[in-house]
């Protein structure tokens, strides 16, 4: 007899019909759903160009931005996305209030639920926090993961996929290199799952061994410790932000040496295909992981990413909230 404790509810992200209820993680979502998110986001892109930048999809709904960790761009784009969907938006920076007073995450959550929100957009420093919150909230509240620890940042990955698709079309022929602090990056993990699910030809991870999780190749990536070899003939280069604190943890000797061996410069970018595009989730450290001339250069899609971020977040919010509503009606 094998003792198999009851598993956690399998796929909490989808309802019985396979519709999105929560958006926590790319892992486990089918390719068709990711494509659906990208298509929906594409259709929302035009709204930003219109004079009246609003659609009434979430009118009368409340979206709470619940940020236990600081963020500027992610929070701002989520706020804009919700407002363009006509939702009421509440921004809460918990990092500086309740949790510092010793209130548990669960207690904070129950208090906020009493405000009858339809969706929580959550950022938290613990891996798995979004999953945990989704397991605790009452039904019909959608949880959107805006970054949990080192685990996942699925909307960032999807806006990157939208950016890649708009410039490169099909994923199957693409070689994509993700460069930098893979170990601490929730963005990289979500990008890998998204690229693998969408059928990218090859996904490479490039970093020194101190910034690579052990056995990360099991995620289906090729691992390189040499930047030039890692960039050879790739179609897309995604640079990751290097946190300044990494020097303190003895993970790296200095920013200067990191830039010399892993920084994306015009010289190193030349190893990629001539039509390769450059992306960065921001905020950038110019002269640490990327040369200014590359960041602002013709191959850079960094500003496109920000614009696409609003469209992707509109897509995910509208899909998850309506998924919850339909479930509630059933």
């Amino acid at each position: 007899m094998q003792i198999c404790p009851p598993a956690l509810p399998g796929d909490v992200q989808l309802d019985e019909q396979g519709r999105l209820r929560h958006f926590l993680d790319i892992q486990g979502l089918p390719r068709a759903l990711l494509t659906d998110i990208l298509d929906t986001a594409d259709s929302f892109r035009g709204i930003g160009d219109a004079q009246v930048k609003k659609v009434p999809l979430l009118r009368g709904r409340t979206v709470v931005n619940l940020f236990f960790e600081n963020s500027t761009r992610t929070r701002a784009t989520f706020e804009l996305a919700a407002k363009r969907l006509s939702a009421d938006v509440l921004n809460l920076d918990i990092g500086t209030s309740s949790s510092s007073k010793g209130e548990t995450l669960r207690d904070t959550l129950f208090n906020l639920e009493a405000m009858q929100a339809d969706a929580f957009v959550v950022r938290h420093s613990d891996s798995g926090a979004a999953h945990f919150i989704a397991s605790q909230v009452t039904p019909h509240v959608a949880i959107i993961n805006a970054g949990d620890g080192r685990h996942a940042h699925p909307t960032q990955a999807m806006l990157d996929m939208l950016t890649i698709r708009r410039h490169k079309g099909e994923f199957s022929n693409l070689k994509v290199a993700i460069v930098g602090d893979i170990l601490h990056s929730r963005v990289a993990r979500s990008q890998v799952h998204a690229l693998k699910t969408l059928g990218a030809g090859e996904v490479r991870l490039v970093a020194p061994l101190t910034l690579l999780p052990s056995q990360v190749d099991a995620m289906g990536c090729r691992v390189f410790t040499n930047l030039r070899q890692g960039l050879k003939d790739v179609d897309v280069v995604i640079m990751l932000r290097l946190q300044k604190e990494r020097m303190d943890g003895a993970l790296l000797p200095s920013e200067g040496e990191f830039y010399r061996y892993y920084g994306l410069t015009r010289e190193t970018l030349a190893y990629a295909r001539p039509d390769a595009v450059v992306m960065h989730p921001g905020p950038m450290n110019r002269g640490v992981e990327i040369e200014s001339a590359v960041a602002d250069g013709p191959q850079s899609l960094i500003m496109d990413q920000v614009t696409n971020g609003i469209a992707v977040r509109m897509a995910v919010l509208s899909m998850a909230v309506s998924g919850q509503t339909q479930k509630g009606a059933a």
Binding site: M1, I3, P5, D126, A218
Partner: protein, 436 residues
């Protein structure tokens, strides 16, 4: 449906238990036999001794009768906050699991680091008068890894061994001094090997799963490095040492080599690590947050083999009760451990049913094995030894439910899971302390 007429405190001074399957390899018994009990001690097996004509007999046919189980490392949470558990609740949990001897860990509040705390604990245990409590004392003051405790005083107060648990001793010279001083008074030292720096901040086995979930990993190297370092110091000092809660497959090899070199070392493994692997962390399931972490399948295989072959001497429940809220947090923020005294034997039986180990070896690893680690004359049924017994119904299926749980913590992944084999009665000193 009570199948036996035993009831607490109703037993005469002399009686017999007949019809049960008695299993005690130290006595070479693995068959239906009659136990004769006289004044709290085993008087004889099968042949009635003088003066036993016509004594009351209890029919225990269909049950497995073993020496009472011994756990050398449960958390009994006493002294400490009541919501985590206390001696009364956890002793009751132990009895329900077939345990008759417990060696509670010293990471209580306050820490069991001076003789007066030990005396208080032991007088509480004596007042309960059921299981044998043989406490582990702290190796360093406050378990802070810096100053030695009054080791001789702790031994005199009743500690059977000293341990710093998983708390680091950063200075290797302090490690050495601890072992030298313990060796001076012939006090065994129990060690949970883990390199604090390599394990810092970690909450999961460093491997494929932790890489994907973005959980900070603890590599098996953290255990093996510490284990190697301790073995060097043990060899130098000649102290009696026991390694508790091995989780890495490669540790088994190191223990085997140390034993082969003639070092006086023993080892145990937690029941969870014999069953489960880090695959169960998928979905951030905090029920499987353990310390040391559940490792991968190859580690589990080597731990199982090490146990079967006797390189690992004992199984521990690693009982660690928590209030419900302790597990209701994101994985890394949740508290590690499970309340397992009540399920440990059933989990062991699941391994027997799977063919991982034989029933005699399971019973040995829960009785004689831990007794040998302690160097105590317990865990066997030789005439004259205390009548500490556990009676199990191996066919009985049961499902852990909060309503009939004894421990203060119902933090078990086995809630609602059908288990086979359950303790139906526990006796210490010939007296029934628990009857299902």
């Amino acid at each position: 449906m009570p199948r036996i007429a035993l009831a607490p405190d109703n037993l005469p001074r002399r009686y017999s238990l007949s019809g049960g399957h008695v299993l005690d390899l130290t006595q070479g018994i693995n068959e239906v036999a009659t136990l004769y009990i006289d004044d709290g001690r085993i008087a004889a097996i099968d042949t009635p001794p003088e003066g036993f004509d016509g004594v009351q007999d209890f029919d225990v046919a269909g049950l497995l009768v073993t020496p009472g189980l011994i756990d050398i490392a449960p958390h009994l949470r006493d002294p400490g906050p009541r919501y985590k558990g206390q001696l009364t609740s956890e002793v009751q949990a132990a009895l329900a699991g077939g345990y008759t001897t417990l060696c509670p860990r010293p990471d209580t509040s306050p820490v069991l680091d001076n003789p007066s705390h030990i005396q208080t604990l032991l007088s509480k245990a004596e007042a309960l008068g059921s299981v044998r409590v043989l406490p582990l004392g702290a190796l360093t003051q406050g378990l802070s890894g810096q100053l030695l405790t009054n080791m001789a005083g702790l031994k005199q107060a009743g500690c059977v061994a000293l341990t710093n648990l998983r708390q680091p001793i950063a200075d290797t010279r302090v490690m050495l001094r601890c072992l030298e001083y313990a060796a001076t008074f012939d006090i065994p030292v129990h060690i949970q090997p883990e390199d604090a720096a390599l394990a810092a901040g970690g909450c999961a086995h460093e491997g494929v799963i932790s890489a994907r979930l973005g959980l900070s990993g603890i590599s098996d190297t953290a255990e093996i490095m510490a284990l190697s370092q301790w073995l060097m110091l043990i060899e130098q000092t000649g102290v009696r040492a026991h390694f508790s809660l091995l989780s890495a497959g490669r540790s088994v090899d190191l223990i085997a080599q140390a034993k082969a070199r003639g070092l006086d070392v023993t080892a145990d493994v937690g029941i969870a690590h014999l069953h489960w692997t880090d695959r169960l962390l998928e979905g951030f399931d905090s029920r499987f947050h353990f310390q040391p972490p559940l490792r991968d399948k190859s580690d589990r295989t080597l731990l199982r083999e090490g146990l079967s072959e006797g390189i690992i001497d004992a199984i521990v429940s690693d009982h660690l009760p928590h209030e419900a809220a302790a597990k209701l947090a994101p994985f890394a923020a949740s508290q590690p451990g499970m309340a397992s005294l009540e399920t440990c034997f059933s989990m062991g039986m699941a391994l027997v049913d799977k063919g991982v180990l034989g029933l005699p070896r399971l019973v040995e690893a829960l009785t004689r094995g831990p007794a040998m680690v302690l160097g105590e004359p317990l865990g066997h049924l030789s005439p004259g030894s205390p009548a500490d017994l556990a009676l199990f119904d191996l066919e009985r299926t049961w499902t852990p439910a909060e309503s009939d749980w004894h421990s203060a913590g119902f933090n078990t992944p086995l809630a609602g899971v059908a288990l086979k084999g359950q303790c139906v009665a526990t006796l210490t000193r010939g007296v029934a302390r628990y009857v299902a």
